[in-house]
């Protein structure tokens, strides 16, 4: 693409990234969510991550299902094409979109109702198919937009704002994602931007199915005492296993870490992910051990956050399908149509 954005008039002191964009260039329309909704913090983290990754906004496609969370793509990256599809089915739409053009960055944004209830099948199958995307669930344990019913991630016994208790077993999307083939899995909290921004950056840079579950309190319907998705509860029970930093290719490393507690992993775009381990025993490359750790902590009432699993050698759906390098949506009749010559042999073989 040869078109360059016209530079806008800017305050001199404002931060500009390598592409010459300011933070504002990554914003969208004004949010219509409730004041204080966790989802808005996540939108902000996404904006920040894209800014810091120096992504050209129009090279991102942002897709969602239906829900308060699924509305958020409208509130970020105003220069990106967005698609607010139908409830629970964003993963299939991303799959198709990705097939059509392997060159864009795919951001799938969903809610716990959208992904764990109606959309569970698509959630799982898009991951096992290896769609190269950054899939984020904004997990508040309720259906916000329909006013506060339990979703499938609500903990057993957790109380609704109106008094009822949830009696169904909860689904943990993180464990599920690891089990079914996601090659990058993280969990974070909408209130922890420090952790969330680099996690999103790494997920976007990862080539393969990347999933991040972000606990995101619903201030309207699920932020009361007794809710395991309330700000207070998550603040107290979240246990970060690591912290991340993303370093650009060949950038001098400026910060020093104590030896043995950090690890550098190269990402697909050439940048480096620096992992500082908070839990010395935790190895995010051992899928089975990570799952076990996760479940044990969950049984103890703790929510593990951070980069939970990552396969640095991941491949993606296009590799599996052996598609050509040029995006399929750019092929023309020349490459696609075998013409009358092709028909001749076809006709001949059918006589």
């Amino acid at each position: 693409m040869t078109y360059i954005v016209k530079p806008k008039l800017r305050h001199p002191g404002i931060a500009i990234n390598k592409l010459g964009f300011t933070h504002r260039d990554y914003e969208g329309t004004v949010s219509t969510l409730c004041a204080g909704c966790g989802h808005d913090s996540i939108s902000f983290a996404i904006i920040q991550a894209c800014f810091e990754l120096n992504i050209a906004p129009h090279r991102v496609a942002k897709l969602s299902g239906i829900g308060c969370s699924s509305k958020t793509p409208d509130y970020l990256l105003g220069q990106s094409h967005g698609f607010n599809s139908v409830h629970g089915r964003m993963p299939s739409v991303v799959t198709g979109a990705n097939l059509a053009n392997k060159d864009l960055i795919y951001l799938g944004i969903s809610g716990d109702g959208d992904s764990a209830s109606i959309g569970l099948g698509q959630f799982v199958h898009s991951l096992r198919r290896g769609v190269n995307m950054c899939y984020i669930t904004e997990n508040n344990g309720v259906y916000g937009l329909t006013k506060g019913q339990f979703s499938a991630t609500a903990d057993k016994g957790s109380k609704s704002k109106y008094g009822g208790s949830n009696m169904d077993s909860p689904l943990d999307l993180v464990s599920m994602a690891m089990q079914v083939g996601a090659t990058f899995v993280g969990r974070s909290f909408s209130g922890d931007k420090q952790q969330l921004v680099p996690l999103i950056m790494a997920a976007i840079s990862h080539k393969g199915p990347a999933f991040i579950d972000v606990v995101s309190p619903c201030v309207a319907f699920n932020n009361h005492a007794g809710s395991t998705k309330a700000y207070e509860f998550v603040r107290l029970h979240n246990e970060a296993v690591n912290r991340l930093d993303i370093m650009e290719p060949r950038e001098t490393i400026t910060v020093e870490y104590a030896p043995g507690t950090t690890e550098d992993v190269e990402l697909h775009d050439g940048s480096t992910l620096r992992l500082s381990k908070l839990d010395a025993d935790y190895d995010p490359h051992d899928r089975i051990a990570a799952m076990t750790y996760l479940q044990n902590r969950a049984a103890a009432g703790e929510l593990v956050t951070g980069l939970i699993y990552m396969d640095p050698d991941a491949s993606d759906m296009h590799a599996n399908l052996n598609t050509v390098d040029v995006p399929l949506n750019r092929l023309s009749a020349k490459e696609l149509c075998p013409g009358s010559a092709g028909l001749e042999s076809f006709n001949r073989s059918h006589r």
Partner: protein, 608 residues
């Protein structure tokens, strides 16, 4: 007893057990007749299971070239003890029964008004082969050999077909030739003169090809430039995707890199399949899915989204017997309404009704142009009869040098030049707005696609007037569609006709024959073959130009009639339904009977 005598004009039906290897022997039989220049129509009637249940193969030999089902059976090749009684009962009086006489069958289970040709097939096979699988497989070839002799098929033609079939596995050719001979020779010595049905070499096939519809549809997808296929297996549509895979492996692998110019996803269900098609269509790739009734039901919500958000998509619906799981291995035209008005709320979709594999190939390729031009789902409505049977039809053609109509997509240059972009703005007066593809331009043309109401610039809105404006434009877009979809094919009778007949899709061959028969009886009717919905004016003009029209369809509820009455504002009294919906393809006899009966009744009434 008298025996039917016929040359190049009879029906022979094979009754087999599925999984027994009879299918390829039977198809070879049919093909050999074609190679002798005599037209053939063949139809498989198979169960919804994998192995061990009854299956039939019906071959109609018609020197005159009538390719619909005729009805009736002149000769039954009864190889399945399970269905014996029913098979015997279905033979026309004075017809023939050919059966494996190795097993003793009591006299009571035969009929006295048919001619019986006995051949101890199992005994012959068992005495010739030791391996049980060989015994089974060659038994099929042996009966083909015998039938060749009885009917006068040229053995050289059959031998050549065997040669072609086993090209590359040459070791199998000689044993098959031998089995063929075995049957032929036995019939020559033991059964000579028993059969009055004959095939005589003719020149009535021309350069036509013998092909099934699903293969044709798949090829249409290749030629139409589809790069993304997302599907979920379901009879009778499965072979569309499988054949697309096959054609792509042949035509669509980059010769240098060996990489694929296509992507096929076997989705986890039909909802996911259509979702992926819509995602790909939104992102500028030509995409399709193939399914059948239950899949269409599951896709309803997404189809409404595609209609309202205006996203191109091609859906090939290979119709089968409904409702519910219904009769999954039988044919019907019963998804018309569920496609035309797919989804809740006010929607209307574009439908195409191809008559045979050739038109299916063409329409499928054209569907991608239509879908992108109109930015909406386009349904190709075929059915099990077209899709899973080999049809004799004109060879496929393609005009080289044509490019695809990608519709109104703004390029980076367009945007850069400052052209106004309003995603839902009717700038050209045809109600089709311009769209942009993701990633096109750094600062212009981005918009937010949604299934909710929005204004002409794609901005969310809950205003009644904004909503209504958009909904009216969508109606006008369908008006534009009328001039883009294939027009009906109208055939005027030799004499001025007060009655017309409307039909579509797989009823065509039976209709052609029925019309000739009616004409032979002095009944003259104009005909109109519908090829698409929405209907252009010619459709209602045709109806209004006649006192009454018959509408032939293969469903219970006269779904096409409903569509016509509603969309053209026609008095339903003008349209008389002729309905066949028992799951078997409609026959010329049925159509002729239904129409002539009603015409006679009417002229009687008039005379009174």
């Amino acid at each position: 007893m008298s025996a039917i005598k016929a040359v190049n004009d009879f029906v022979i039906k094979f009754a087999n057990v599925n999984g027994s290897g009879s299918a390829s022997a039977n198809e070879m039989f049919a093909r050999s007749i074609l190679r002798m220049g005599v037209p053939v129509a063949s139809r498989n009637i198979f169960p919804s299971n994998i192995q061990g249940l009854p299956t039939w193969y019906e071959v109609r030999v018609s020197g005159k070239g009538w390719l619909g089902r005729r009805g009736g059976v002149d000769m039954m090749v009864a190889m399945n003890p399970q269905t014996w009684d029913k098979d015997i009962a279905s033979i026309d009086a004075n017809g023939y029964l050919f059966y494996d006489s190795s097993r003793q069958i009591p006299q009571s289970r035969f009929r006295s008004d048919i001619n019986i040709i006995r051949m101890p097939l199992t005994e012959i096979a068992n005495s010739t082969y030791n391996d049980p699988r060989q015994r089974q497989l060659f038994k099929n070839i042996i009966y083909v050999g015998a039938l060749a002799q009885l009917l006068g098929l040229e053995i050289a033609v059959l031998e050549q077909l065997i040669g072609e079939q086993y090209k590359g596995k040459d070791a199998l050719i000689a044993p098959n030739h031998k089995a063929l001979r075995l049957g032929f020779d036995y019939a020559a010595s033991q059964l000579n003169g028993l059969c009055g049905l004959k095939v005589e070499r003719a020149d009535a096939v021309g350069d036509r090809i013998f092909v099934n519809g699903n293969e044709a549809a798949a090829l249409g997808c290749v030629y139409g430039g589809a790069t993304v296929a997302a599907w979920y297996p379901i009879t009778p549509s499965t072979s569309v995707a499988e054949s697309f895979q096959k054609h792509c492996s042949k035509y669509r692998v980059d010769p240098v890199t060996k990489k694929n110019n296509f992507a096929i996803v076997q989705a986890e269900d039909e909802i996911s399949a259509i979702g992926a098609v819509i995602g790909a269509g939104w992102n500028g790739a030509r995409a399709f899915t193939a399914t059948s009734g239950p899949g269409i039901s599951l896709m309803q919500e997404f189809l409404g989204l595609a209609y309202f958000a205006e996203i191109p998509a091609v859906i090939i619906d290979v119709q089968r017997g409904g409702p519910s799981t219904g009769m999954p291995t039988r044919t019907q035209q019963a998804d018309i309404l569920v496609c035309a008005y797919a989804s809740h709320g006010d929607t209307k979709h574009v439908l195409l009704f191809p008559e045979d594999p050739r038109e299916l190939f063409e329409f499928t390729a054209a569907a991608f142009d239509l879908a992108e031009r109109l930015q909406t789902p386009v349904f190709v409505l075929e059915d099990l009869d077209i899709g899973m049977n080999e049809w004799l039809c004109e060879p496929f053609t393609w005009t080289d040098g044509q490019t695809y109509d990608r519709g109104k997509v703004m390029s980076a240059e367009d945007l850069e030049s400052g052209k106004t972009f309003g995603r839902y703005l009717d700038v050209d007066g045809d109600a089709i707005p311009w769209r942009t593809l993701p990633g096109t331009h750094p600062s212009r043309g981005a918009y937010f696609t949604r299934g909710t109401s929005r204004d002409r610039y794609a901005k969310y809105s809950e205003e009644g007037s904004v909503y209504q404006d958009n909904m009216q434009r969508l109606l006008r877009k369908l008006e534009t569609a009328k001039s883009l979809v294939p027009a009906p094919v109208i055939q005027l009778a030799k004499e001025n006709a007060r009655h017309g007949v409307i039909y579509f899709g797989s009823s065509t061959p039976a209709m052609n024959e029925a019309m000739a028969a009616l004409e032979g009886q002095g009944m003259h009717l104009d005909t109109m073959r519908l090829r698409a919905f929405p209907f252009c004016d010619a459709v209602s003009d045709f109806i209004l130009a006649h006192d009454q029209v018959f509408l032939v369809e293969q469903n219970r509820d006269a779904q096409m009639r409903m569509l016509l009455v509603n969309e053209c504002g026609i008095d339903p009294a003008r349209i008389v339904s002729v309905l066949n919906y028992d799951g078997t393809p409609i026959t010329a006899r049925f159509i002729t009977g239904a129409i002539s009966e009603r015409l006679t009744m009417k002229s009687k009434e008039a005379a009174e």
